[in-house]
């Protein structure tokens, strides 16, 4: 009912009624309860505003017509009236109180991220989104899939121009999805209007939001916090599917991850690397360094003919792995597999003016992972990565990529320092059953130990400390950890 009144009002404002279906003039059709609440709240406030506007400016325009000199109206001389002034201070106050109550209810509902059925960590990058399904162990990156030609006007624009991605986020219908939102480089903001979820992504901090999609379908949104050059080109697409389809999707993604991991252990010939590298370059590098490798003078350096891309290959891999702090060059080591990094480095060293003829293999990248890569291989031994804290999702005892990287660095350090040994202690946060927590802390420590053993560290160099669940931090995310320290 409220909506139809507003639609009538909106219709009157639309310039061309004939083409009215093409004009989107109100909030998108809600697909979640929060979005529906926001929609109703907005309608309510619009109606109140419209009412006040009509009354106040009805009076003003009446006055403009009747109380003009040209119709001979003589000016009155009143200039205050305490009663009237009190009335028009109190009435708006009462109206505002009436608005505040329903608004407050929605605020509290939006902030309640408890009891999720599914938790996804969302990471904003310049300029794409990364999604980690914390319990399912699936990680994807989501890039704009609109071809360059459409943006530059060389091809007709598709139906979902700028609102389409290569890898959409897939979620099950009717489930509470909690988003843990952060960023890798600068501020971004994750927004899908129809789901009513918007949250800034802040580098170094995790904020949460949630939604529960009511209907199966595809919902589109965009980054809404200015994040540099391609801010307008990092859309968000959420596919809401049935629970069975979601399970199938997870299984498929896990299979794909296994294949990708297998690539890291292979050796490729140069042509294979270059052709694979070209597509990795287009998806990850071309936005700044440009498809022709020339960069943007003063903003993004050229790769064609650059010192890095024609210098020692280890340095080149190091820059790609670790990025350049304080610039838009992010650390691609956390985003790309060893095989993809080897491919893109090989491509860059052989494309454009760089006809070096060499190539990098996944094993070269693996050897440089873990913070030591920026230093040439023959230089001083890498600094100690210890102590290190590896964090876990709620209830989880599996290691994510960041954890795996940190442990690989630890293993590499132990390899270089034959006398060093480490202590491992597991922790949980304070919430929940203490007995279960103690067990979980132990299992987490075991997971870390197993990862170190798998990375080639012998068992005698790893001490398991007694399980602990006492936390030193107010932040639960920081508390759910395993600490690895040098043993005395």
């Amino acid at each position: 009912m409220k909506r139809s009144v507003w639609q009538t009002a909106g219709l009157a404002m639309v310039v061309s009624q004939g083409a009215w279906a093409e004009y989107a003039y109100n909030l998108q059709t809600p697909a979640s309860k929060v979005a529906e609440d926001v929609f109703q709240l907005h309608n309510l406030i619009m109606l109140v505003c419209l009412g006040i506007f009509v009354v106040v400016f009805g009076a003003m325009f009446y006055s403009l017509i009747k109380h003009r000199k040209s119709v001979g109206h003589q000016a009155a001389h009143f200039h205050e009236n305490t009663t009237v002034e009190i009335i028009w201070t109190v009435i708006p106050f009462v109206i505002l109180m009436g608005m505040a109550y329903p608004a407050a209810k929605v605020v509290i509902d939006m902030k309640d991220t408890s009891n999720p059925d599914l938790t996804i960590k969302v990471t904003g990058y310049q300029w794409k989104w990364g999604y980690d399904y914390l319990n399912e162990g699936v990680s994807i990156y989501s890039n704009l899939s609109t071809p360059r030609d459409q943006i530059e006007g060389k091809a007709a624009k598709g139906e979902h121009y700028l609102l389409e991605v290569d890898e959409p986020v897939v979620v099950p219908v009717g489930k509470r999805v909690r988003l843990l939102i952060t960023a890798n480089d600068v501020l971004h903001a994750w927004w899908v209007p129809a789901l009513g979820a918007k949250q800034d992504a802040i580098p170094g901090f995790i904020r949460d939001s949630w939604f529960k999609a009511d209907k199966i379908g595809t919902y589109r949104g965009q980054c809404v916090e200015l994040c540099g050059k391609d801010h307008g080109f990092m859309p968000i697409v959420v596919e809401v599917v049935s629970e069975a389809d979601f399970a199938a999707w997870v299984a498929k993604k896990k299979g794909a991850a296994t294949t990708a991991a297998a690539d890291n252990g292979k050796t490729f010939d140069q042509a294979e690397l270059i052709s694979r590298g070209e597509s990795v370059y287009a998806a990850n590098c071309a936005a700044c360094h440009q498809a022709n490798g020339m960069g943007v003078p003063g903003a993004f350096p050229a790769i064609s003919g650059s010192k890095v891309a024609t210098g020692p290959i280890a340095d080149h891999i190091g820059i790609v792995l670790n990025g350049r702090p304080g610039t838009a060059m992010s650390a691609f080591g956390v985003q790309l597999s060893d095989a993809d990094i080897a491919a893109v480095v090989s491509y860059q060293r052989n494309a454009w003016a760089n006809k070096l003829g060499d190539a990098a293999q996944p094993a070269d990248v693996a050897a440089l992972r873990g913070g030591a890569a920026a230093t040439p291989v023959d230089a001083a031994a890498p600094a100690s990565p210890l102590p290190v804290a590896v964090n876990f999702a709620v209830g989880a005892k599996t290691l994510d990529q960041a954890a795996q990287d940190a442990l690989n660095a630890t293993a590499a350090y132990l390899k270089d320092n034959a006398s060093a040994r480490v202590d491992i202690s597991g922790f949980t946060d304070k919430t929940g059953d203490p007995v279960k927590n103690a067990e979980l802390a132990k299992l987490r420590a075991f997971a870390v130990r197993d990862a170190l053993l798998a990375a080639g560290v012998t068992e005698d160099r790893v001490n398991l400390k007694k399980p602990e669940n006492i936390t030193g931090s107010a932040e639960n995310f920081d508390a759910r950890r395993v600490e690895v320290r040098l043993a005395n």
Partner: protein, 527 residues
Amino acid sequence: MAHDTAHGHDDHGHHAPPTGIVRWLSTTNHKDIGSLYLWFALIMLFAAGTMALLIRAELFQPGLQLTNPDFFNQLTTMHGLIMIFGVIMPAFSGFANWQVPLMLGAPDMAFPRMNNWAFWILPVAAILLMSSFFLPGGAVAGGWTMYPPLFIQGGISYDLTILAVHIMGLSSIMGSINIITTILNMRAPGLTLMKMPLFVWTWLITAYLLIATMPVLAGAVTMLLTDRNFGTHFFNAAGGGDPVMFQHIFWFFAHPEVYILILPAFGIVSQVIPTFARKPLFGYASMVYATASIAILSFIVWAHHMFTVGMPAAAQLFFMFSTMLIAVPTGVKVFNWVATMWKGSMTFETPMLFAIAFVCLFTIGGFSGLVLAIAPVDIQLHDTYYVVAHFHYVLVSGALFSIFAGIYYWLPKWTGHMYNETLGKWHFWLSVIGMNIVFFPMHFLGLAGMPRRIPDYALQFTEFNQIATVGAFIFGFSQLIFLIVVLKAIKGGEKATTRVWEGAEGLEWTVPSPAPYHTFETAPVVK
């Protein structure tokens, strides 16, 4: 003393002012400095307006046609910075310089030499800002809000921008000290605070806001500068800092800044409407209290610009309620203006037309502000074109229209000639129609989900963007009429009387038109 008294008197008080450029560089006369501020603002209006037209031209259709994304971000950033710090603020300072001494019956500002300095550092800041377009990497492209870490990434122009902001802040602080001292110490005998024209009251409160908040901005940008160049980590989580802290500090400055940009507008409109309604301002005392309430509230609402950073529910509720409260004193002002018109004897010269458009259209901006005050709705609309529509309704049809109203209103006093009323009306109608065609559709774009600060957009946003672009060109080019009106009035035209307007009240209307170079050397007595 060897010479006679008359000669001695001449030597002390009435040197003929130097001529040519030296006159303007060395002037300490409040009228000269007022004119300098206003010319500076006009030049900057055309510069930043050209950027706006480039932005609108790029957005006429989907796809990238005229700009690349990086240059587009430079345009939006510079358009915002220049319109705020280079147009609206200097224009209001120009009005203050011309009108505050005339309205108070004071011979000049309290600190004439500082007044000169406060103006002449402004062009330096403008040159620093504008020249960065020609530096490697181009002008600053991180948004006028300068949020880190994006602002940490940029090139040399980002440092120049920080320096320019420092200089403009310094200029504002010096100007404010001058205005406060003049108002508190140099009123004509009998002119008590509660008899001051409302324009003077609004500027007094604005000046306090400037002094309170400009140092906060200076602190914030200094931290940016050291983060960029000297390895500090105020806003870098990896070093123990917090990017959101910048936003808190910035908006603690920038929300009061919003009222710095609108309170003098309230003042101008409160002078114009009574004149053309031929009826005293309704609720003078409540206008003063409402202005002060808005100023005080402006310090406790800043985080409503940050509802999406992920504050706790309690903080969201506090900032939502405090923001909604601002509607009460703002409403009082609108009701008072309408009540002033009620049962008046109105005529509709150009200043009055702009003032009426101000009341009506500013209120639309106020209503969209109320919509945005509701935290859940704001979360949906934050960083969309709805916000762009909102702040252009308050800054274009609010601040800028009040400036037009003020210029038309006082131009006869300043130049001694009436402006061309026909051209003035053309300027008004084209501006008011153009302005609504540009900015009204942006409400719909924002509601439908178009983010702000994007150079290219999805196809469903095409129609309203095209309408907006057409409106922008109408609005932009009609400002050339304004330039012609001003130039014509300076060159000649019908002689203005001392009173100028039939219903004009106040000390500035007791001096001849044009106002002599020195006025009120003997203070008038107000009964």
